[in-house]
């Protein structure tokens, strides 16, 4: 859901241009994993702003709660214990939609206008247009969208497109007590991240860096990682995410080619009929049978 209507960069299952006269600044949420303490205030803020409440679950021996994203859990802290350079590290990554510049979900979606990408970079689901096929899940390289068990619509983080549309930061960024979640123009966020990375390098994290994977054209949710060379340390953050080749094939060349082939078959048949005429029973045989009948 969202408030925008004139600044749509892309619209799912739509082959014509979307309304885009209004120009907006490309935004980004920057999650500084090195400053995150995993307090889950972002999760609470997300639940409150969006008015969603997943079930009270159980402890299964880890700090992650709920244990996975679902239709009512759009963001979630994932805790990982690793040992790097002989030191224990407790890596805490806020998982959720990355708002790819080249969104696999949007590419996979068959329903016109169910997934929208705004010119500010936010990829938003419009559930009223969602048919519930789950193709978006297939398209997503980050394993984010979830189908509701009750209404069968797909849900995920909207980057609070409703707040951003009126000049507010997303609820999670607003709530983050340590400043680990920043929100602003993507350019500014990249700039800010550089300072953070310098600081981390100064503290001995030689491989600190920004996670803005180009395989999906960059993302509008970025991470500052202490170990940018090993994103998989952070609860399996993909090293080089991209839209799955099978999905790319399926929603890429296969689409026009298949239609072309089918169209060609149909038209070819017609022309064959027109040019060659029907395959009729020969007059001799007809006559032979009539003769037989006459007996």
């Amino acid at each position: 859901m969202a408030l925008q209507s004139l600044d749509i960069a892309r619209r799912s299952a739509t082959t014509t241009e979307a309304p885009k006269v209004r120009e907006t600044t490309e935004v980004a949420k920057l999650i500084d994993v090195s400053a995150c303490i995993g307090c889950k205030a972002c999760q609470a803020a997300c639940m409150e702003w969006n008015d969603i409440r997943p079930e009270v679950g159980n402890n299964v021996g880890i700090y992650d709660n709920p244990q996975d994203l679902d239709d009512k859990t759009w963001t979630l802290m994932r805790f990982t214990e690793v040992e790097e350079n002989g030191r224990l590290e407790w890596l805490i990554r806020k998982d959720g939609c990355m708002h790819c510049a080249d969104p696999g979900c949007l590419k996979a979606c068959p329903s016109p206008g169910a997934i929208i990408q705004y010119s500010n970079g936010i990829v938003d689901f419009h559930q009223e247009n969602c048919v519930g096929c789950g193709y978006c899940i297939t398209g997503c390289p980050f394993n984010i969208p979830r189908l509701s068990k009750t209404d069968n619509k797909a849900y995920k983080c909207s980057l609070c497109s409703d707040r951003v549309a009126v000049g507010q930061a997303p609820a999670c960024a607003k709530a983050c007590p340590t400043g680990a979640i920043k929100f602003g123009a993507k350019e500014d966020m990249v700039h800010y991240a550089e300072a953070r990375i310098d600081d981390l390098k100064d503290r001995g994290y030689q491989n600190a860096g920004l996670y803005d994977p180009q395989g999906v054209g960059g993302t509008h949710v970025m991470y500052v990682l202490h170990h940018a060379d090993k994103p998989t340390l952070y609860a399996d953050l993909p090293e080089n995410p991209q839209i799955s080749p099978t999905v790319a094939l399926w929603k890429g060349v296969a689409k026009p080619l298949a239609l072309l082939a089918l169209g060609a078959t149909a038209i070819g048949s017609l022309f064959h009929y027109v040019m060659k005429g029907p395959n009729e029973v020969s007059k001799e045989l007809e006559a032979e049978m009539e003769k037989e009948d006459a007996k």
Binding site: T138, S244, V247, A258, A261, H272, L285, M289
Partner: protein
């Protein structure tokens, strides 16, 4: 058309019903499936009461089709075993398409083309059904990696199958006197003798 009591029974009522159940299912599936396949065809969902209904109905229709296809398969499988003369027929199919069927080898109830179509459709049905189950999100929860393969297989097999059915339908239209076999079960003896002489002989005992 005047019915001739000496027309040959090609399909009984049960076989015809089975075929048409499968056929109707196919049409519905093709329409709804194509709607999801290409944005240009998405408006087809309106035939089903909208996108969500199309998404809900499509797999269930698929289940119906799969069940009746299986029945049909067992009805006709033995008649569609390929033999040497079928391959011979197929090798000469170009001439036939060109309008000259005089040199075609003699065929039984089904010619080589029909038999090949039968097996290709069967293969498509297997692929589509299996991949369709894997993609059926509202009922199953298969690993995304598997679903990603399934969606391509489903789409490719379905597109191919639609092509096959185009051929199937056109062949029926092009070969005049054929469609009635599936409408009321009989064909003329002349039709049989011309297109399926072996079967004609078998049915009539004549040469």
């Amino acid at each position: 058309m005047i019915r001739n009591p000496r027309d040959l029974q090609r399909y009984n009522a049960s076989e015809r019903a089975n075929h048409w159940i499968v056929g109707i299912c196919f049409i519905l599936l093709a329409l709804s499936g194509l709607a999801f396949f290409h944005p240009a065809l998405f408006p087809l969902v309106n035939l089903f009461g909208g996108g969500t209904w199309a998404r809900i109905l499509h797999p269930w229709i698929g289940v119906v089709m799969a069940v009746f296809f299986v029945i049909m398969f067992f009805r006709f499988a033995s008649l569609n075993l390929m033999g040497g003369k079928d391959w011979d027929w197929l090798s000469k199919v170009g001439k036939m398409v060109d309008g000259n069927d005089h040199d075609m080898p003699e065929q039984g109830k089904y010619n080589g083309g029909q038999k090949l179509l039968f097996w290709l459709l069967t293969l498509c049905m297997v692929l589509i059904t299996v991949s369709g189950v894997v993609m059926w999100r509202s009922q199953f929860d298969f690993p995304t990696e598997l679903v990603r393969i399934a969606v391509v297989v489903h789409a490719a097999a379905a597109a191919f199958m639609i092509g096959l059915i185009f051929v199937h339908v056109y062949a029926a239209i092009w070969t005049r006197g054929t469609i009635r076999a599936m409408l009321y079960g009989t064909v003329t003896r002349a039709w049989a003798k011309q297109h399926h002489r072996g079967w004609y002989r078998q049915m009539t005992g004549k040469d």
